[in-house]
Amino acid sequence: MEQVENLAREEQAAQVMAIHLGIGPLSGVEPQLLEQAFSIARAGSIAADAELIIKSMPIQVSCKQCGQQSEALPNRLLCGHCGDWRTSLVSGDELQLQHVELVRQAAEPETAPLAAASTIN
């Protein structure tokens, strides 16, 4: 919310319409619980009526043995091609603010998605 409010101020927004997050299963954050908490956190802010849209990021691993990438499960980060366990995580532990949709102050209300993405952790 701090980052969203800073962004809204920088962009001279009148209202934040939607906040898009990317969350991976290995971030330690539960999207459903975050949504419940968001309904409280947005109260009284510029994002009071904003929608929280959470994109669940896939778990992707890169194999150090065969070099290929594959999807994996949170407790089974094995290579989907050769089955080796020596992999590195490409995605799946994100807690990212991806983009924010807001209404600018001056012009007529129009939703303008911002392209810039930023990372929270």
Binding site: E5, S27, G28, V29, A41, I120
Partner: protein, 259 residues
């Protein structure tokens, strides 16, 4: 994860979210999500600061994590007894309530700082930073941080440690890494504690625990040990000394190193 139990406001970071604090935004105080987001950023910043302190003084910081009752304090007691003649050790203890663990550590002749977290289920970098003010790092070699017994929330908070050591006790079952992947993925070393119970709890197969850990793409070593009968303690002590020697080397304090 701490939206789960509402523990994201702790005695260590409350100043950030109180009116006038760096993360306070509204007077009504209802901002659970903004605290979590801001907290991780502010936590990571303070953790880096803690790590700089440890590095500057060549002090190895070990974050001990496990379920409640896996034997963290017993392991520390046995470790202190094995090393206290050659190394200066201090312990930062995290519990919801009581000074019991700190008292147990102090009885072995080393300083212990007890952090009581109230309802918070983990330590954060701010709490550890406050505790560090009560320790003279100049005179220390190793600081153990005994985290709150919990396999969920502590995994998300960097404290500024050099290593995460996770205890998995034999009575808990060998599939804990598969059940708590976020925690066990963060392990730099896994200790299968209470190994003296392996003969009676023969459904615990150490190789299964290793396999579950490898399935998290974690190459951390796994040692079986018992603080009770001292079996396996040598490998753990050797690991600690090697980590300390490596840190002292990196910190340019080889002359003060023990190994």
């Amino acid at each position: 994860m701490c939206d789960t139990c509402g523990c994201n406001v702790t005695p260590g970071n409350a100043h950030l979210v109180q009116p006038g604090g760096r993360l306070s935004k509204t007077a009504d105080g209802r901002e659970a999500v903004s605290v979590l987001h801001g907290l991780l950023h502010a936590n990571d910043h303070t953790a880096a600061h803690n790590r700089e302190h440890f590095n500057k003084h060549g002090v190895l910081a070990v974050n001990l994590m496990s379920s409640p009752g896996a034997g963290k304090t017993s392991l520390l007691e046995a470790t202190i007894d094995a090393l206290k003649d050659e190394l200066a050790i201090a312990v930062i203890e995290g519990d919801l309530e009581t000074e019991n663990d700190a008292d147990r550590i102090r009885a072995h002749g080393v300083p212990a700082i007890q952090i009581t977290t109230g309802s918070a289920c983990h330590l954060d970098a701010h709490m550890v930073h406050d505790a560090l003010h009560a320790l003279d790092l100049q005179k220390l070699d190793i600081v153990f941080i005994e985290n709150v017994g919990n396999l969920v929330c502590p995994a998300s908070f960097d404290l500024g440690q050099h290593s995460n050591v996770i205890l998995l006790s034999v009575p808990e079952g060998d599939d804990k890494p598969a059940k708590y992947p976020v925690m066990f993925r963060a392990a730099d070393l896994v200790l299968l504690s209470k190994s003296d119970l392996l003969p009676v709890l023969d459904d615990f197969q150490p190789d299964n625990a290793r396999r579950h850990l490898r399935e998290l793409a974690n190459s951390a070593q796994v040692f079986e040990l018992s603080a009770k009968n001292s079996d396996g303690m040598d490998a753990w002590i050797h690991w600690l000394l090697a980590e300390l020697a490596r840190l002292k080397h990196q910190s340019g304090r080889l002359a003060a190193g023990p190994a």
